[in-house]
Amino acid sequence: MIESLLVANRGEIARRVVRTARRLGVRTVAVYSEADVGALHVVEADEAVLIGPGAPAQSYLDGAAVLAAARSTGAVAIHPGYGFLSESASFARSVLDAGLVWVGPDPSSIERLGDKINARNLMADAGVPVADGTREPVADAEVAAREAERIGYPVMVKASAGGGGIGMSVAHDEGELRAAFVTARSRAERFFNDPAILLERYVARARHVEVQILGLADGRVVTLGDRDCSVQRRHQKVAEETPSPGVGEALRTRMLAAAVRAGETVDYRGAGTVECLVDETAQDFVFLEMNTRLQVEHPVTEAVSGIDLVEQQLLIASGDPVSFDPGAVRLTGHALELRVYAEDPIRFLPGPGLITEWIEPSGPGVRVDSGYRAGDTVTPFYDPLLAKLVVWGADRTQALERARTAVDGFQVQGPRCNLPFFDELLADPEFVSGRYDTGLIGRMRR
């Protein structure tokens, strides 16, 4: 096992990684920006290094500053969390070049999968089903119109290098397509520094279901069940659950097998997520993309498996066997994650501010991964995730019931907060029935 670990992230995920590292006796180093002075992730690590101003490009995205912090503290490994530098192949490579351990897949795996067009082509060639779409970057609006005609409307327009729903939109006809293409390309250039655009057949009433994989140090790829992430606004997840209520056993078996094939295709090491779109009625799926890092919603998998995913990441990165028997994984019960965001519960617009009250719920089956406490200021620099409320139950009914109680016990005052949305969600007949899709929030807000 590595002796020390720098966590190149902030908020709840930095705290969560430090928690496991500490349990395993690994010395921890935090990095932070001027906007995060005194933050929980900073005070809880063994050491902390200020790496720059609040703007992400000058701190958490500044690979050279992160590497300098590792050097000055003697950290031997870097865990990137999610977002920020986690899917930067060039940063991963510079970590390895500096003689440090990178807690993540090989940079070449990140490179091959980070580009959505390339990833789709790889998967299609490996026999994993993909939605009809473009195999080459779409050069201009004319090509986009021609390709959309071939694929058939509606189509999804995406930044090939994108993530987090940024630059994605659906076009139902040529007019919308041309507008969507221009928007997607400007977002792609601005946020991802890569103008490549991809078109894909859009499935309207689809569920978004993903499979957790672990590429072991000995080369095997194992799965740890699925997660349903269909509760979304702006193509971004708000709540997740496992197992997916919309996936039958036959489909689940096929999806898990495809996820293993996806991982094996790129010699994947470490934790990764294979995202798919599921047609619940047809019980069929297509590959969407692969996330080459720990996923925000990984705690629901931990809740039903009893496996600490960060521990496995650290073991795999150290070249050690995982702490569980990959042939005897048992998933028990049902788990939900609710993302508590600093945004209003109606229009979902963000609202930073000073937290004047912060009370977390507790109880059987309740876990809260949070990044804030009373007295902290939520700044406009970072994403609006305040905390993840994770609830486990013996079955879905119990998990929902416990979630309702936990939401009522979660008090946040100061910034805008979407907690009231979860009261609504947990009472929504469609959500409660389990038969919902990615259009759920849109219908709740019509």
């Binding site: 940024i166 617009l349 963000p350 609202g351 930073p352 406009p380 970072y382 994403d383 805008r416």
Partner: protein, 71 residues
């Protein structure tokens, strides 16, 4: 009558879309704010003419700050 358009939240001004003197319709985008990794277009609630744009690209605005004045 002049109409003040104010920021709904702490944000950075990413883009100023209109300039003083522009004729605008209700629903036109005046500026685009950015907060918490999200772009937030600020739309005009009235039709009229832009009397003043009170912010520049890159500015940080607080909740309630005036962004533009519409006549």
């Amino acid at each position: 009558m002049s109409h003040e358009v104010r920021a709904e939240m702490v944000a950075n001004v990413w883009k100023v879309v209109v300039a003083a003197g522009d004729a605008i319709e209700e629903g036109d985008t005046l500026v685009i704010l950015e907060s918490m990794k999200m772009e937030i277009p600020v739309l005009s609630e009235v039709a009229g003419r832009v009397a003043e744009v009170a912010v520049a690209e890159g500015d940080v605005v607080q909740e309630g700050d005036v962004l533009a004045i519409i006549n």
